[in-house]
Amino acid sequence: MEPASDTDHALMLRIAQQDAGAYRLLVARHLNFCVRFGERMLGSRADAEDVAQEVCLRIWNDAGKWRPEAKFTTWLYRVMTNACIDHKRKRRMLPLGDNDTTPDTGPGPEISLQQQQRSRQVQAALGRLPPRQRAAIVLSYYEELGNEQAAAATGLTLNAFQQLLYRARQSLKDELMERESKDGQD
């Protein structure tokens, strides 16, 4: 168990006092989540790292204004969700040709070819979902948040979140099944 002085809340108070050590500790603790979540939301490793960096810098700059009304992680999920949706919106507004064309390295060579293929299929299907539905899937399935925490992270009521998750699941199922039947025909 982490000491009381190292809880997220205690670290935020120290960051507000410009404590760089506390900042390093907090960022190191949550950076994996930010990058994984960003990659699943945006479908690109490079974009995920940009958004993670932007959000982490916000922690440094806004620590003085942070009020512990909710758990730090709930606040972070919410900020990441909104940052990813904004990023996606901005990217859509860029003219063609300005998009990053560097290929993503993907999940790494240690997983099998078939798994990589399936991973790409899910990535593509997730990418076709509306951003809020995508966030619902990523928070529930990959970050394994309970519905209440995921609802707080997306700024929805519990009921609205459950409906969103249901719709997201249906859309994803349709996307994946359609793709699979197409692949079967080829």
Binding site: A20, V35, L57, W60, A63, V122, K173
Partner: protein
Amino acid sequence: MDKIDEFLGAYAVRDADRELLERIITAAAAQPRPARRHIFAQAAMFAAVAVTGFWLGNATPAPQTATTQSNFMDNVILGPDSVAEMQM
């Protein structure tokens, strides 16, 4: 297990690298310190108020006679008392 859960389980992503962490820490260190920025903002606001107050306090109005002031008050600010006066 539902087919969709099986699919979702296949979507693996890598964890963040140490390099990214170092990049973020360096970028944060290079940011202007928020506490000091706040003091600058307050000082700038105070200076702006002081200069405006000084200027207002020392601004000399254009010389006006008692009559022109009274006409201005009657005709422009208060307006004419009657239609007849308006047509004059």
